[in-house]
Subunit: 229 residues, 2 copies
DNA sequence: TTCCTTTTCGTACTTTGTACGAATATATTG
DNA sequence: CAATATATTCGTACAAAGTACGAAAAGGAA
């Protein structure tokens, strides 16, 4: 009737398991992106046949749901023993690190129809952190909306930059600079030439800047609330 | 040799045109989302055959590029006659309004390999606005990264909320609340019960909150720079 | 009319997810 | 052990998608 695992934990690859399939899917997505992840390729990667996987997962869509949940599970929740600001910083720095590794995930994380339990766990933990610090419900909602939007937006932009692992974008610079100036995009050309294409520039550095900016703003808003009370 | 339009501007629908196809594609995407936009459906919507469109566009991918460019073109650039803060506010409020209408677009806008001219135009205008206000190049880069990330992230989250046109999400509330409490998500349950599911709540209201928060933070950062100079 | 260019579209091939049920492996029972 | 039942794998095939190819149709120009 119901399938009991009994003893199948010796070969997590040779004998198909939900977990093995999930793991392989994450590997492939991390390497080649989510759109290159097809059931056929996944089966080949597992040394199996496409239809064999359907005994363990109901559909590709459900598999992707599980992948997204798995990504959520790797993000740290705000440690309860810390004050709210460093605690929230931990959660969002962790999230960015995880999303940088699983760069295919951001567009999927909020667009699945129903949020999974890992997703809910995070929402709950973050809101709890704000509440303990004295944020009103309204401010909680705003704070979360702003921080989450920023996180996903940033991770998303970062994922679509050229070559997410190696140095930067210096190699593209040469020919494009002329186009920029000829097209009348002088500010862009200046920014590119004087900053972005210089060695040492990293788009990712802006994340900390924005995170601090938002956290400071939230602190101010929270203090304002307390004062008005 | 080269195709000259000559006289085909009478029936922008019956006689296929690049513009007519683009317009119809935008209509369909606005209504049903980008993943429901197939060449076959699009052709049907135009009263034509799938392969007929390929005389005017090279591929579906290029069509989507054009759709994205068209969305960019509808966003206002920061008015040069205004001070930087209200000018930037105009640009980002406009962007949110446009992205709310074209809710399928955010995941595509930054992920196309090469940015189109409309995209560049916006980047250039926004950076120019910051520069005129005295932002350093570094601060420009940070400011743009933060604001754009926020914008796309917010638009993206908003697009994946239930029912993007009608009232809210009150209809879902009932059964889920119990699940939330039983699952130990008490803070979430509180936030949902006391705020989100109440009439009058709108996720979109957080946009202004976050925009002001970020703009104030940028102003502070800019003043800090000036003071240090 | 005849010829040439522009525009439309029918057919067919490839890639994808996956329904269906047969084939095989594994476990349980007599 | 054999017989039976269950759990797992996979071969075949179909639908939906993008689009290559070249024939067909439409529209002028000579």
């Amino acid at each position: 009737m119901a399938q009991k695992p009994k003893k199948a934990e010796k070969d997590s690859r040779l004998s198909l398991t939900r977990e093995g399939i999930l793991e392989a899917a994450l590997e492939l997505a991390d390497r080649d992106g989510i759109e290159k992840l097809t059931m056929r390729r996944l089966a080949e990667h597992l040394g199996s046949a496409p239809m064999s996987m359907y005994y363990h997962i109901p559909s590709k869509d459900r598999l992707i749901d599980a992948m997204v949940e798995s990504v959520f599970a790797r993000i740290r929740t705000p440690p309860e023993e810390l004050p709210w600001k460093p605690a929230i910083r931990v959660r969002f720095q962790s999230a960015r690190a995880v999303l940088t590794r699983h760069w295919w995930a951001p567009p999927l994380m909020e667009s699945r129809r129903l949020p999974g339990p890992e997703n809910l766990r995070h929402h709950n933990a973050v809101i709890g952190c704000f509440r303990r610090a004295g944020f009103s419900l309204e401010l909680c909602a705003h704070a979360y909306a702003v921080l989450d939007s920023y996180l996903y937006g940033f991770a998303f932009e970062e994922a679509s930059l050229p070559s997410q692992s190696d140095g930067g974008m210096q190699d593209i610079g040469g020919s494009m600079m002329d186009e920029l100036r000829n097209g009348g995009f002088e500010h862009l050309a200046e920014l590119a030439g004087e900053l972005v294409l210089k060695p040492g520039y990293s788009f990712g550095d802006s994340f900390e800047f924005g995170l601090d900016l938002i956290l400071d703003g939230l602190e101010r808003a929270m203090r304002n609330e307390v004062r008005r009370r």
